[in-house]
């Protein structure tokens, strides 16, 4: 799974978005954003329908 979401340097791929309780983690501390265990996490590939 990690190789789909993270590039070869371990960074989140540009077109993969992670939302924490509806907020893009890029607006916070990215993948280092601290969790308290009660959040809803959504991982969404940003694919538009054309």
């Amino acid at each position: 799974m990690a190789s789909l979401l993270l590039d070869e340097r371990g960074a989140l791929r540009p077109l993969v978005n992670v939302y924490l309780d509806g907020e893009d983690v890029r607006e916070r501390d990215g993948l280092d954003t601290k969790l308290d265990g009660a959040e809803e996490i959504r991982v969404i590939a940003a694919i538009a329908g054309g």
């Binding site: 190789s3 789909l4 979401l5 590039d7 070869e8 340097r9 791929r13 077109l15 993969v16 590939a45 940003a46 694919i47």
Partner: protein, 329 residues
């Protein structure tokens, strides 16, 4: 997959397969696969495509700021060895059948790298072969390279190959836009290449090249080249109008064949009117014939020999990126 005229698939739906083949030794299928969300990788299958595994790691050189943009070409070596060419001008080697890949830093960090530049499709290492105890790699647009020491060092092999887009120096040491480079299996030292700036033949392992034009070819521009493994003087190209007009010449799908080492070329017209395109991995060959796949989704096969005939095997496929022929159980 096309077997006789039956089409199976799609396999790996959603992935752009820049190149795929079946390892003749192990039977494993390998695909240089790319996804605009999930990035570049190599998939492998040991059950004829029913299930696939992704590579676990394709490692870039430590300290490098390079990013793997795309995987372009896979080439089985000895045992569980698998070579991988990619963008940006990167070459990797796997010793575990495609699970992990190590960078060939001797080529990636070649002293001439600052003079390389990307072609229209990126800076892709698209041709790689192990032949006669040597390694051959070609990168667009860096040129051809040869290693005589199992990849420890690489020598540019571009003498005589034009780079007309450098008007001040049209024959540089590196920077040529090779589209496809092939080593002939039956005559040591014989290489062929289809370049942005012409079709070429070498008879000294790539030390020097002869340009082959003005001899029946409507254009020196094209992408694929195919050979006849039993006859080193035979080659097939699919010329396109120019670097700015990527479709076949003269309103036809024309394949041009030489049987005299490129001294003359004969047109074999597959379809007319047609404005087609065949990509650099869109041609393959074996002892039985030549196989091409077009951007219009057609697959054609030609039987071998002077009087071979072309047959359309399949049509209405998506744009074809890669054609390889394999024995199938």
């Amino acid at each position: 997959m096309v077997r006789d005229s039956d089409v199976e698939g799609p396999l790996l739906p959603g992935w752009s397969i820049y190149h795929a083949l079946r390892d003749p030794s192990s039977g494993t299928l390998y695909a240089a696969s790319n996804h605009f969300v999930y990035g570049a990788t190599v998939h492998r299958s040991d059950d004829l495509g029913k299930t696939w595994e992704r590579a676990e790691e394709i490692r870039l050189p430590g300290g490098s700021d390079l990013k793997l943009n795309a995987t372009w070409h896979v080439e089985p070596g000895a045992g569980s060895e698998l070579w991988l060419g990619g963008d940006p001008g990167v070459l990797f080697r796997s010793s575990d059948g495609g699970v992990t890949f190590e960078p060939i830093t001797s080529l990636i960090e070649h002293p001439t790298r600052e003079r390389w530049q990307p072609g229209a499709g990126g800076m892709c290492c698209h041709s790689f072969q192990v032949a006669d105890g040597r390694l051959y790699a070609a990168i667009s647009a860096a040129g051809g390279f040869r290693s005589e020491d199992a990849g420890e060092t690489w020598t540019p092999i571009n003498k005589g190959v034009a780079a007309d887009f450098f008007p001040d120096n049209p024959f540089p040491e590196v920077g040529q836009c090779v589209h496809k480079l092939l080593v002939h299996p039956a005559r040591e030292g014989r290489l062929w290449q289809q370049n942005h700036c012409g079709v070429y033949r070498s008879d000294d392992h790539g030390d020097t090249w002869e340009r082959l034009e003005g001899n029946g070819l409507p254009s020196g521009f094209g992408f694929p080249i195919a050979l006849d493994p039993s006859d080193p003087d035979v080659a097939y190209v699919v010329p396109e109008v120019s670097g700015e007009q990527h479709f076949t010449c003269d309103g036809r799908l024309g394949v041009y064949r030489t049987s005299d080492g490129g001294a003359s070329w004969t047109l074999e017209s597959l379809a007319e009117p047609a404005w087609a395109a065949v990509l650099r991995e869109g041609a393959s060959f074996d002892e039985d014939g030549v196989y091409i796949g077009t951007q219009g989704g057609s697959v054609w096969v030609r039987t071998t020999g002077e009087n071979g005939t072309w047959t359309e095997l399949a049509r209405n496929l998506p744009p074809i990126l890669s054609v390889e022929v394999a024995d199938w159980p």
